[in-house]
């Protein structure tokens, strides 16, 4: 049975690679076949990952579906794959969003279709490895490998000439950050002789691995890489650029999964390996997160680009996540996990909404929109739903996460909780105002002209939105099904922290 179970994880990891190889053999002209094949492969991966969830044992705090390969025995680097209650949701999120991305760009991507699908399958492959690997070095390798396809996606299929700047910023910011992490990993390798996370966890539980200054330095090295990815405030410049210039599918994946790479790194590596440094630096993280929440919410208020508003709101939400993670109590960390997952649904859906508008009107500037409710009713309903979810409306997934997070923060520092909750108010302000400007009001001349040619969302787009609506509601109304899975792992994590 154990062997049988492991094959699901292997399936998740290998299927995209098989898909890439198959796609390479399809002639470039047969775009329909390429699209269908790519979609089938990504759906197959999703099904494999669903099996991971079904056979997941909620009561175990150990890693499950563990498998290992002899890779680099010379340097004592032996990759071990495994999943616990924390990483399973990231894998599910990735495998869910990839087919949706491919579906959403079904008719938009007209040039280099094959390359687009290959890039996305490669992204899926690297992301799944990052979320399931239990080895620091391989983690780093695939953490970085994500850059290549994403750089190409922004650069080739992005919309304007500014895309080059965006692609460069995305690439260089992340690379510079993560090379410090590489130095940190080298240091860990020398100090302990291994990069195996399970061993490192065991060691750091039983005795002090590092002297105090070294632990702080190591923490900073890892933090610089993850903070760029999250992004925390001083390193967030690349995010609005990259989100705005990327094609819809690219932004969806950026917001839905790539941002979580950073927070996943926090929860997987920083918290268990450097607990003291985490405690030491938590005021820093708190203040950065508070600045992120308030500053980016205020910035979002005065943006005129649809995508930029959502991008800045992502930064604010990720600020909530980092706040929750560094409270070191169960409500805070679980709330942060829930925000991450729900942000994966909600902001992806919002980017998809913007994509729907952009496909029809070819502009993202708000001033050209207005009165969409009159002739796109279904779209309006969906958009309003996700806007409400974005501002943390009770009954949607964000509410649960933000509530739990604030609860956790309250136990640590009341003033932080007070400041953080301002983020929710400001979030409501920009979200509702955005909704108001785009959906309601009167249609101007520009819009009236296009009413005749443009229609409400079609069936394909509805299929893209439906799973996200369903999941958002489900998580909002009955979050236990997610909490149960992650509970034991998080308790275990916090136990080792204290």
């Amino acid at each position: 049975m154990v062997m049988y179970l492991n094959s699901f994880l292997l399936g998740v990891l290998v299927t995209p690679i098989i898909g890439i190889v198959l796609l390479l053999f399809v002639p470039t002209e047969r775009t329909n076949m390429i699209k269908l094949l790519g979609l089938c492969i990504s759906l197959l991966t999703f099904i494999f990952s669903l099996f991971l969830w079904i056979f997941f044992d909620n009561s175990l705090c150990k890693f499950q579906y563990v498998m290992s390969f002899d890779w680099n025995i010379f340097s004592n680097i032996i990759p071990v794959f495994g999943i616990d209650g924390i990483s399973i949701f990231f894998i599910l999120l990735t495998t869910l969003l990839i087919p949706l991305c491919l579906l959403s760009s079904w008719s938009v991507i007209k040039v280099y279709v094959k390359e687009f699908f290959i890039a996305f399958l490669f992204l899926e492959f690297s992301l799944c490895i990052v979320f399931s690997i239990l080895d620091l070095l391989i983690f780093y390798v695939f953490f970085e490998a994500v850059l290549i396809p994403m750089f190409l996606v922004i650069g080739i299929w992005g919309s304007r000439t500014r895309k080059m700047k965006a692609a460069y910023q995305f690439f260089l910011y992340t690379l510079l950050g993560s090379l410090f992490m590489l130095l940190g990993i080298l240091f860990v390798l020398f100090e302990t002789g291994t990069t195996d996370l399970q061993l490192l966890f065991l060691m750091s539980e039983s005795y002090n691995l590092w002297s105090e200054e070294r632990e702080l330095l190591l923490w900073l090295a890892f933090f610089s890489s993850f903070a760029v990815k999250v992004p925390m405030v001083p390193f967030h410049i690349w995010l609005p650029e990259a989100h705005v210039e990327a094609p819809t599918a690219g932004s969806v994946l950026l917001a839905g999964v790539l941002l979580k790479l950073g927070t996943y790194g926090f929860i997987r590596i920083l918290l268990p390996l450097f607990p003291k440094a985490c405690l030491y630096f938590s005021p820093l993280v708190f203040s950065l997160s508070i600045v992120a929440i308030i500053y980016t919410s205020l910035t979002a208020l005065r943006q005129i680009d649809l995508k930029k508003i959502i991008a800045y709101s992502s930064v604010a939400h990720m600020g909530f996540v980092t706040l929750g993670l560094f409270t070191f109590n169960i409500q805070g960390v679980e709330g942060a996990m829930l925000i991450m997952i729900s942000h994966g649904f909600v902001s992806s859906a919002l980017f998809l909404c913007v994509g729907v508008l952009y496909d029809r009107y070819h502009t993202r500037l708000i001033k050209y929109y207005g009165g969409l409710a009159d002739f796109m009713p279904v779209f309006t309903v969906i958009f309003v739903f996700f806007i409400l979810a974005n501002l943390g409306f009770p009954g949607t997934s964000s509410f649960v996460g933000e509530f739990l997070t604030l609860l956790g923060i309250c136990q640590v520092s009341f003033i932080t909780a007070f400041l953080a909750s301002w983020g929710m108010v400001l979030g409501a302000a920009y979200s509702l105002w955005l909704c108001n400007r785009v959906l309601f009001g009167s249609a101007s001349f520009f819009k009236v002209k296009t009413i005749l040619t443009q229609t409400d969302i079609n069936r394909r787009e509805f299929v893209v939105f439906f799973p996200l609506i369903f999941l958002t509601l489900w998580m909002g109304l009955f979050p236990n099904i997610f909490l149960d899975v992650m509970h034991v792992s998080i308790v275990n994590l916090l136990f080792t922290l204290n």
Partner: protein
């Protein structure tokens, strides 16, 4: 049997014989080859027509552009196309035939030499010549690399197609072989000169190009100066120790530091080795002596640049490691006692720091492909020296891993560059297009690479993978070279240097990304202007070679064992 054994010890003798055979052969057949072989020629032409038929109307936007205007009169176009092609080619055809024939003969020679080398499995030395497993392995690797290089040449699209260049390359290889197995300072100097002279000649092979002559002259003057320095250093060492034999020197050093000598007693040695190092750094194109590199790279013919940047560098670095090891860690010498290491290390650190910075900063604003690769070569040398300066066995292993992937990726990039051929079309009456006369060219500027992705997407994608590997982006081979170098330098507490190396590799990414940007992202006026260009299809042999390199670069992620094992055994052989 005796002859075979002898040749196995000295494959150099076989090389000498075969080179002279090659020269005689070419001189004899020169007048015969002027009359074209009509049967073979027409056969190849037919294949050419067929391939162009497919590729011209295959994928890529310029091909589409072409297609739209031409579908109706396809046959006529093809005839026309080939006509123009052959018109350009025929004047050169015979010379090129000789060239290709010589290349194949050279492949045969190198292959036999390889068999001889593989046959040998013991070790041999006398006063000036030394052959152990390390040297044998380096020789085998060099032979494999040169066979690979010759295969590239057999399909090269850029001239000059002179058979002399092949002969010179073989003589250069002979010099390199002698260099790596030299066991005496004088023999080392002589073989270094042998290979350098060939390189000077090769650099100015394109006689009617000013750049090429300039490159050759510059290289010659500066190289001769560096050789003079090496000789000067050798004389210092000889004067202070009374021997030029490496073995004697090794024994000499290992005993020297047992007694307490003052700095001034040893000043002559320090000076001598400083000069030898300077000469070697010059040949390796390390930092303070790097000025010649961009000009020479740019001026020499494209395939010579490829040769420059891989094979002599590989051998010189292997020799440098051996030399460094001998003088710094002679036998019986504990690390603490090897004070020559503490003399050599700051030197290496200084050069590596400078090379990394100059290589990355200098490459930022280049517009020509070859100049960029020259600067990237300088920065790569910086990383290699950093691994060497770590002074541990793992450091040497890291250097070999780095060298392996460096050689692979440079060969890959140059295979693509050498097999690219740009055509420009002009409109004829009636919507027809034809190849413009004298418009066939090789890529020189970055903007020429722009057609790669448009005309042949898979090739563009592979080129980009190579560039990413050069930049050291993780899942590809180049990253592991850098990773191991960082690992060992970090382990030897060279924190500052490691930090600089990390930083320069990020800055270096900037210019590698520029190439990628040009290949993939360019739209707008430049794109529209140049739509009448497109690439000729690449040959079968080139595509096989490119695929080989691609597999090497990618497969390391999945199966790193063989490379690590091989490099580790190389290091052990070097030490034992």
């Amino acid at each position: 049997m005796l002859l075979l054994d002898f040749l196995a010890i000295f494959p150099e003798f076989f090389l000498v014989f075969s080179i002279s055979f090659l020269i005689i052969f070419n001189v004899i057949i020169w007048p015969l080859a002027i009359t074209p072989n009509s049967l073979v020629g027409s056969f190849f032409e037919k294949i050419c027509v067929k391939r162009h038929n497919y590729r011209m109307l295959g994928d890529g936007e310029s091909a589409k552009f072409l297609y739209s205007g031409l579908e109706a009169k396809k046959d006529f176009l093809n005839l026309h196309f080939v006509d123009r092609l052959s018109e350009q080619k025929f004047s050169l055809q015979n010379v090129q035939n000789i060239f290709v024939r010589t290349v194949w003969l050279a492949i045969l020679i190198l292959f036999i030499t390889l068999c001889l080398c593989l046959n040998f499995d013991s070790f041999f030395y006398n006063n000036f010549f030394y052959l152990d497993n390390y040297i044998l392995d380096v020789k085998i690797l060099v032979l494999i690399l040169s066979i690979f290089f010759m295969f590239i040449l057999s399909n090269s699209s850029s001239g000059p197609f002179l058979f002399e260049s092949i002969v010179l390359i073989l003589i250069c290889l002979l010099g390199l072989f002698c260099l790596i197995s030299s066991y005496d300072l004088l023999f080392f100097y002589l073989s270094l000169e042998l290979q350098s002279f060939c390189l000077y000649l090769l650099a100015c092979l394109k006689r009617n190009s000013e750049y090429s002559v300039e490159a050759g002259l510059k290289y010659f003057v500066l190289g001769a100066f560096a050789s003079g320095l090496i000789l000067f250093g050798c004389s210092f060492i000889y004067g202070f120790s009374g021997t030029t034999n490496f073995g004697s020197l090794q024994i000499f050093f290992s005993n020297l530091f047992l007694d307490s000598f003052s700095f001034f007693d040893l000043a002559g040695f320090y000076l001598g080795f400083l000069f030898v190092f300077v000469g070697l750094f010059f040949k390796l194109s390390a930092f303070p002596f790097h000025m010649w590199v961009p000009d020479v790279y740019e001026g020499s013919p494209l395939y010579i640049t490829c040769f420059f940047s891989v094979i002599p560098k590989f051998v010189l670095f292997s020799f440098f490691l051996k030399f460094f090891f001998i003088i710094c860690f002679g036998f019986g010498c504990e690390l603490e006692m090897a004070s020559f290491f503490f003399f050599g290390q700051p030197l290496l650190l200084f050069c590596s720091l400078g090379s990394m910075i100059i290589g990355t900063v200098g490459g930022l604003f280049q517009r020509k492909i070859k100049r960029l690769f020259a600067y990237s070569a300088i920065s790569h040398i910086g990383y290699l020296l950093l691994g060497c300066a770590a002074g541990t066995l793992e450091g040497f292993q890291a250097v070999f891993i780095y060298l392996f992937f460096y050689a692979a990726v440079v060969l890959g990039v140059f295979t693509i560059l050498l097999s690219l051929k740009l055509f420009k079309f002009s409109k004829l009456s009636g919507g027809l297009l034809a190849v413009k006369k004298n418009s066939i060219k090789n890529p020189v500027y970055f903007s020429d690479l722009f057609y790669v992705f448009r005309s042949n997407r898979l090739l563009g994608l592979i080129f980009v993978i190579f560039i990413f590997s050069m930049a050291g982006i993780p899942p590809l081979g180049g990253f592991y070279g850098k990773f191991y170098v960082f690992l060992v330098s970090f382990n030897s507490q060279l924190y500052f240097l490691t930090f600089v190396a990390v930083f320069t590799s990020v800055v270096g990414c900037f210019y590698y990304l520029r190439i990628i940007k040009l290949i993939f992202f360019t739209t707008g006026p430049a794109y529209r202007l140049q739509q009448n260009h497109f690439l000729a299809p690449i040959s079968f042999v080139s595509s096989v070679l490119i695929l080989t390199i691609l597999i090497i670069l990618i497969s390391f992620v999945f199966y790193p064992g063989p490379v690590l094992y091989f490099t580790y055994s190389l290091v052990l052989e070097l030490v034992c």
